[in-house]
């Protein structure tokens, strides 16, 4: 078959890009290696982890806050197989949704591993059988896999990655999470809420290293206080051994002393690595970067081979589903001759712990490094009427604005529904709003979003009303 566009990979970058191509009248096909569409995000990432986060948060509230709310429960217990089954059902619904969308947009789909024969010919291999299709344009959207450490072999039973952590059919007594980033903290939260004693071992001095330092600090405080999670910062993991149902992790602290951690499971969440296996990139003369295995692309996400593009986790930039989606649309529109634009500084980062953490734009650390003069406005949720009502008083919103022009340069929040609230900040910054603009825009009362308005008032001229 001859296509205008063939997309390899059906994750959020690939499937969104394919639909946009089809909308623009391009004859489009998608190649997916797995049985279900949706890639990491829908199958073993964003969606299933949110399903478990929501379930475990319900349990945690039932166990810890219902009584204060005036609700008594007897015989509260976790039904882990049901929790996992519901998660699987959510995944199944979502992946089936993509199948429907492909059909609706007349996109052909192929199951198998796509590899380059030449820049316009793709071979699809599935169970030893293969066929070839041709395309004027190819979009590589093969995503990423959990990074593994050479001294810490994954056995997928006791030493596991985020993928296996979504299918543990019991509530472990103890769990070790290696890596204090987004994935480690979200999965650690799931089990900590269900009653597991979770220990996080992090090489760096702070959690959520890339985000504004204030956020990681506050999150660490809250997770320790409300979930009893333990944090071992500045610790270097040196190895792990499995004995029956027990895993022992060894690490050295900043003083060089060796420590041992025992648990039933150890989740290795030290990041993700671009995935290009089976693409046969060498057949079109492409080489991936030595560090991180990413495919080099130009500003228009085109590789060194004209007509071959790459998007999402497999190229430079943050490994985020929404970044991949926007890149999918970007490339589709470029192929159709349009001139879209992505503002990479305004891709929000979100962590679905509770409180949630969300962030967009420059951090205080980045502004200091740039030597830019800025103003800060911060508002704590403990001063928010809405947060008091729901007992979600941890966290704050921080607005950073240009000292001279008042333009908002960064917004960093930790608190209830921060993941949803960050959207307002992104819109504001896309239109280059000033802190005063936000302070002058009416926010419904009582809502969590008032905290953003109050922080903006603070940044404008230190005139927050409610603190």
């Amino acid at each position: 078959m001859q296509y205008d566009v063939v997309v390899i990979g059906s994750g959020p970058g690939g499937y969104v890009g394919a639909i946009r191509c089809a909308q623009l009248g391009l004859k489009t096909a998608v190649i997916e290696k797995y049985k279900t569409f949706g890639g990491t995000c829908l199958n073993v990432g964003c969606i299933p982890s949110k399903a478990l986060l929501d379930s475990s948060e319900h349990y945690h509230n039932a166990a810890h806050t219902f009584q204060t709310h005036g609700i008594s429960l007897k015989d509260l217990k976790v039904d882990m197989p049901q929790m996992i089954a519901r998660k699987n059902d959510v995944v199944a619904q979502n992946t089936a949704g993509i199948q429907y969308l492909f059909k609706k947009n007349k996109i052909d789909s192929f199951e198998g591993v796509g590899s380059f024969v030449d820049k316009n010919t793709i071979k699809i291999t599935n169970n030893g059988k293969s066929e070839t299709i041709t395309a004027k344009h190819v979009i590589i959207a093969t995503g990423s896999k959990p990074t593994t450490l050479p001294f810490l072999p994954i056995d997928k039973k006791r030493i596991i990655t985020s993928t296996e952590a979504l299918d543990i059919n019991e509530v472990p007594k103890q769990m070790i999470v290696i890596g204090g980033g987004v994935i480690g903290l979200e999965l650690g939260s799931v089990y900590a809420r269900l009653g597991t004693k979770v220990s996080v071992i992090e090489f760096m001095p702070s959690l959520l290293g890339a985000m504004d330092a204030g956020l990681g600090k506050e999150l660490q405080r809250v997770l320790k206080k409300s979930l009893g999670m333990e944090f071992f910062m500045n610790h270097k993991v040196t190895g792990a051994t499995v004995e029956g149902e027990k895993v022992t992790v060894t690490a050295t602290n900043a003083k060089g002393e060796e420590l041992k951690f025992d648990a039933e499971y150890c989740i290795v969440a030290v990041g993700r690595t671009a995935y290009t296996a089976g693409l046969d990139l060498e057949n079109i003369g492409l080489k991936t970067e030595e560090r991180g295995n990413k495919i080099p692309v130009n500003d228009h996400l085109e590789t060194a081979v004209p007509g071959v593009y790459a998007i999402g986790d497999v190229v430079k930039g943050a490994m985020l589903a929404h970044k991949a989606e926007d890149e999918g649309i970007y490339v589709a529109e470029r192929i159709a001759g349009q001139k879209p634009h992505i503002n990479y500084n305004l891709i929000p980062g979100v962590v679905y712990t509770w409180p949630e953490v969300a962030s967009v734009g420059f951090t205080e650390e980045q502004l200091k490094e740039k030597g830019q003069q800025y103003k800060t406005g911060s508002f704590p949720f403990k001063a928010s009427g809405r947060a008091k009502a729901s007992m979600d008083t941890d966290g704050f919103v921080k607005v950073l604005a240009d000292a001279k022009t008042d333009e908002i340069l960064g917004v960093h929040m930790i608190g209830p529904r921060a993941a949803d609230m960050i959207a307002e900040a992104v819109v504001a910054m896309e239109f280059r709003a000033s802190a005063e603009d936000i302070a002058r825009i009416c926010h419904a009362h009582p809502t969590y979003t008032e905290a953003f308005k109050e922080a903006a008032m603070g940044a404008t001229e230190n005139r927050a009303i409610h603190i």
């Binding site: 205008d4 623009l24 009248g25 391009l26 004859k27 004027k136 344009h137 085109e302 004209p306 007509g307 470029r334 192929i335 159709a336 001759g337 349009q338 001139k339 879209p340 634009h341 503002n343 240009d402 022009t405 333009e407 896309e430 239109f431 280059r432 709003a433 000033s434 603009d437 009362h445 009303i465 409610h466």
Partner: protein
């Protein structure tokens, strides 16, 4: 008490206008003399102002065609101030007096750091049109460029429309959109269309060409432009030389400056020179009155003034009516040669074009000179070939030896 605001009589030949935009909203408080709406006739845009202070009650809708004297809106006594205060008083208690800013809110000034920032969709549209956002006037908050601004933005009338290097990789429009857009013609466009066809049908129009060596004018300009600017505050452009030369030539060939009126020919002892200007809503042709008795500096000043007004759609009907001869400059767009259409009821139009270095023969030798082709379209009914060609030759002589302008020879 309420008063009705009607479409004012805006010009002799105008019987109807289109309500292009409401500046104020229904129910909004307006001050006396404040602009409340924009009206558009087939010749110009007008602002409708409030005749008294009060509350606006809209009668006509945007896009409506209204006869002169038709009711546009009513203004009712009593601004919005009173009822609003009452509204506020009632449900206040909820929140501590949060919003009562003590100091008056400082008025937003026109320019801010965000002026000219295109919204994400506007940015994409401008990039695809190849329009520099800096050339677009944003109507959003603080001059931000909205999607609508981007949709209506025109490519700037600057020379050298940047040609994009052919894209190496993407064999582009295989699958481009094949969408058609239907837009209503503006009244101005409709009039232009009607008049152009009328002129083609009702005159005996033809075009004669010549070429002019621009070196003498350019030398003169190069020599004096700084002093000229210092003394008069305007740059010394080509337009003043051409206008002056045309006025001089019109004296020698009065029929080129005449028009047919029924059975008679009307000759003018003055030269009102219309200049064609590309404006946002289309071509407009403001007039330099009595150009024959103006100095070069006065002409330059008038040209700048009229062109600025045209760009801002601020030209009045009077400024566009009359004119005995027209100059149009397709050279700014890069035109090498063209046959302009007469601006009726005038009888002739001079077309200027781009200046290109060409090899020419001078005293038996090939030399490189900055050359411009000139075109004169004329109505053969009252202008003979001898006169039209003679006129154009005269303009050429005056420009190639500007001293003649001084001496009148």
């Amino acid at each position: 008490m309420s008063i009705e605001i009607k479409v004012p009589p805006v010009g002799e030949s105008i019987t109807e206008v289109v309500l292009s935009r409401w500046v104020k909203n229904d129910g909004e408080a307006v001050e006396m003399d404040e602009v409340i709406a924009e009206l558009e006739s087939d010749k110009a845009t007008f602002e409708l102002t409030a005749e008294q202070a009060g509350t606006l009650k809209i009668v006509a809708a945007e896009g409506d065609t209204l006869a002169i004297g038709a009711v546009v809106c009513q203004i009712e006594d009593g601004g919005a101030a009173a009822p609003k205060a009452a509204e506020e008083a009632a449900p206040a208690a909820q929140k501590p007096a949060a919003d009562q800013a003590a100091a008056p809110v400082p008025e937003r000034t026109g320019d801010s750091y965000a002026t000219g920032t295109p919204s994400p969709s506007a940015g994409k549209i401008l990039a695809e049109k190849g329009v520099d956002p800096a050339s677009v006037k944003g109507t959003g908050v603080d001059g931000r460029i909205t999607k609508e601004d981007a949709v209506s933005a025109q490519k700037a009338a600057q020379p050298a429309a940047k040609v994009e290097a052919p894209k190496a990789a993407v064999a582009a429009p295989v699958a481009g959109s094949r969408n058609e857009r239907k837009e209503k013609m503006s009244p101005l466009r409709k009039t232009v269309a009607k008049r152009l066809v009328t002129v083609k049908n009702e005159t005996a129009m033809l075009t004669t060409f010549n070429e002019v060596n621009m070196k003498p004018v350019m030398d003169l300009r190069g020599k004096y432009k700084d002093q000229f600017k210092e003394k008069y505050g305007v740059g010394l452009g080509f337009m003043s030389f051409f206008t002056k030369a045309v006025c001089e030539a019109l004296k020698d060939f009065p029929s080129v400056n005449a028009r047919i009126d029924g059975e008679s020919v009307v000759f003018n002892d003055f030269a009102d020179i219309s200049i064609a200007v590309s404006a946002p809503k289309g071509l407009v042709v403001p007039v330099i009155r009595n150009a024959e008795s103006m100095s070069l500096a006065q002409i330059e000043k008038t040209v700048i003034e009229l062109a600025t007004k045209a760009r801002d759609s601020k030209l009045t009907i009077e400024e566009m009516t009359g004119g005995t001869f027209t100059i149009t400059n397709g050279g700014v767009f890069g035109s090498m040669m063209s046959t302009p259409i007469i601006n009726a009821p005038q009888s002739a139009i001079l077309g200027m074009h781009n200046i290109i270095e060409r090899p020419v023969a001078e005293k038996g030798e090939v030399v490189i000179r900055p050359m411009m082709y000139l075109a004169l379209s004329y109505d053969h009914r009252i202008i003979d070939g001898r006169e039209s060609v003679g006129f154009l030759v005269r303009v050429k002589q005056l420009l190639e030896d500007p001293a003649r302008l001084l001496l009148g020879i």
